[in-house]
């Protein structure tokens, strides 16, 4: 069984039509259930549920506080290379875009890490484009080794890898991976990814499962909301997380909800996801998967992010730049996309505390130290 087989069960089904037939009574019944099925999740994503957001928010808040407390984990991305061989039509790193390409050397990686670490952050996410001959898996693993003494938790958001490659990164100190399917619409996917290794839909779809098999502690998935009809992509994202949670109970599964943002390039999204709609997705996800981590990035505006804090978010980025070397470079580099929330770590902490929540910097203790191995 793979997630692709789960998706096959929905092949030919009119998911949008099923959602359109949901009634308010269906939504209210669903909200009273202790555990939800996939069909219940579909109900909460429906147009009828859009009118029940307050009731959903109350339930989501209750579940989040119960399982995660009033805490928000903080992390920041570090872009170490923007070389890319893909032609994803919506991405600033598209190989056809004429941006300056660069890759950090050892000293630059270390310096960038030290600047980030000085802000108090302890959780780091390493990012690259997809150019394995320039920024290889070994390069990414080496970067993790250079930084592991500064950050108890290092994640990667890089191209889809094999299980062996994920195991290698774990051996270098990486404990989490983030990989967005972008869209679960297999028919639409090729037109959005016309060239490059990322055009292999199935290899990407199975990558989170390979990371679970490799023993990755946290696996974070998501769809880039706006590429396809958002209700469908949100539905399959939830099913994907649900599948991984059941198949790999040792792995913490988390979800992100990136919305399309302006970038270098002229692609316009298929559908615009409004703030209300993004909130509905998050609430539905939280109620369907009460223990699932939820990340909200700086793609979203400050005031909107602040208002999301009680609704299910467990992890937020802070002090973000999406440019390679952006934490130390004095030049104005072009990032992968434009961020909306430029607040510093201190400012994010103040905003989180103002909501009665606690910013959490550290949530893992690396166990590789030989001194404790016995």
């Amino acid at each position: 069984m793979s997630f692709a087989q789960v998706m096959e069960q929905y092949a030919g089904k009119d998911i949008a039509g099923m959602m359109d037939r949901v009634t308010v009574a269906d939504v209210q019944r669903t909200l009273s259930r202790r555990t939800l099925s996939a069909e219940d999740y579909l109900v909460l994503l429906s147009p009828a549920a859009a009118g029940q957001l307050e009731a959903m928010a109350q339930r989501a808040n209750q579940l989040t506080v119960q399982h995660f407390g009033r805490t928000i984990q903080l992390f920041t991305p570090m872009y170490i290379s923007n070389f890319c061989t893909n032609q994803c039509v919506y991405c600033g790193f598209n190989t056809r875009n004429t941006i300056r390409r660069t890759k950090l050397d050892d000293a630059q990686i270390r310096r960038e890490g030290e600047v980030i670490e000085a802000t108090g952050l302890k959780q780091l996410l390493l990012l690259t484009g997809e150019a394995p001959k320039i920024a290889s898996v070994e390069y990414i693993g080496h970067a993790a080794k250079l930084l592991r003494d500064l950050f108890p938790s290092i994640g990667v958001e890089v191209f889809a890898l094999t299980q062996d490659e994920y195991e290698y990164l774990i051996s270098c100190g990486v404990d989490s991976m983030t990989l967005f399917q972008e869209t679960y619409n297999a028919a639409l996917y090729p037109s959005l990814h016309p060239a490059g290794p990322k055009s292999d839909y199935r290899f990407r779809l199975d990558a989170p499962e390979r990371a679970c098999k490799a023993g990755m502690r946290v696996v974070n998935i998501g769809a880039l909301l706006g590429l396809d009809v958002w209700r469908k992509d949100a539905f399959f994202t939830g099913l994907h997380a649900h599948y991984l949670q059941f198949a790999y109970p040792q792995t913490d599964i988390a979800i992100s909800f990136p919305r399309m943002r302006p970038h270098a390039g002229e692609f316009q999204p298929e559908s615009i996801v409004s703030d209300r709609e993004l909130v509905q997705i998050m609430l539905a996800q939280r109620i369907f998967l009460p223990r699932c981590g939820i990340t909200i990035s700086t793609r979203e505006a400050p005031s909107f992010r602040d208002n999301l804090i009680p609704l299910g978010v467990t992890r937020m980025s802070a002090g973000v730049t999406t440019a390679v070397g952006g934490h130390t470079s004095e030049e104005e580099e072009v990032g992968q996309f434009e961020i909306s929330d430029p607040r510093s770590v201190d400012e994010m902490c103040a905003a989180i505390r103002a909501r009665g929540y606690q910013p959490v910097f550290k949530d893992w203790e690396p166990l590789e130290d030989a001194a404790v191995a016995g």
Binding site: V65, Q66, H67, F68, G69, R70, T71, G120, K122, P152, Q245, F246, P249, Q250, T251, D252, I253, R291, R353, G356, Y357, Q358, V360, F361, K362, D363, W364, E365, L367, D369, A371, V372, A373, G374
Partner: protein
């Protein structure tokens, strides 16, 4: 600090405790409330997840908020097997957290139920290394026996899954542990209300660990005080030996067999 004055200490690992309420450090909106929770509850034992502790942080470290008189009970939250639990325990001791350790080995992140086999393995290793081991467990007779044989200083059965506030759903099984074992029984996880903690203490458990129910309450300090009072009340009720509970017919003032004479 308020303590029971009934000369009824709980002794674990050679440490005499006057309070039978253990508290936690997770899930608070701010760690600054922890001293007030400790004071209001009267608790003397507090558990802290080592994975959340940043020993190098000049500020924002949960340890800075734990009153000096508290007995630290670092836990192995995040451990997926015995080896990881053992490493976390050693790290905790090396970091100056003392030699008490609450073993949590959880490899199912959906239900967060403890793995009895891995817990027993970790308990055996750590008890031999001189740790005072308090393992979190399902209330299972055989697992408890393994843990006690492995050197556990107490056992910590769950009342309901972690963080659920569903109360003592495992009542019958905890009752068996009370009957069978001399080591302290500390109900850990699931207690959602002071009345449930009181109930557990009336049953005869030796202590209760409460985190989520206090940390996620509207007013954690008042809730901590309520739990402190409830645990004391339950313990006193247990010591006072409640009268028998009658089932079926009432106790008739005119016995039906009185005509039989002596």
């Amino acid at each position: 600090m308020e303590h029971s004055n009934n000369n009824d200490p709980l002794v674990i690992g050679g440490v005499e405790l006057q309070s039978r309420l253990f508290t936690g450090t997770g899930k608070y909106g701010s760690d600054t409330v922890i001293p007030d929770v400790c004071r209001a509850s009267g608790s003397q034992v507090i558990t802290v997840a080592l994975r959340r502790v940043d020993m190098n942080a000049a500020a924002g470290n949960v340890m800075q908020h734990i009153p000096k008189h508290m007995q630290l009970l670092p836990n192995t939250s995040g451990a997926r097997d015995a080896e990881e639990a053992v490493r976390i325990a050693r790290l905790a001791r090396a970091a100056g957290c003392g030699n008490w350790i609450k073993i949590e080995v959880i490899s199912d992140n959906r239900y967060l139920l403890p793995d009895g086999y891995q817990t027993a393995r970790a308990t055996e290793i750590l008890a031999k290394e001189g740790f005072v081991v308090l393992p979190y467990m399902n209330p299972d007779l055989y697992v408890a026996r393994d843990l006690v044989n492995a050197g556990a200083a107490a056992v910590m059965p769950l009342g309901a899954p972690i963080g659920t506030n569903r109360g003592i759903r495992t009542r019958e099984m905890i009752g068996i542990l009370i009957e069978e074992f001399d080591v302290p029984i500390v109900v850990d996880a699931g207690i959602g209300k002071p009345s449930e903690a009181c109930d557990a203490m009336e049953m005869g458990v030796d202590a209760c660990l409460v985190n989520t129910a206090i940390a996620t309450a509207g007013d954690p300090v008042i809730m901590a005080e309520a739990f402190g009072a409830a645990v004391r009340a339950g313990r006193q009720a247990f010591l006072a030996k409640a009268g028998p509970v009658l089932t079926g017919a009432a106790s008739a003032s005119s016995p039906l067999t009185g005509f039989l004479g002596e």
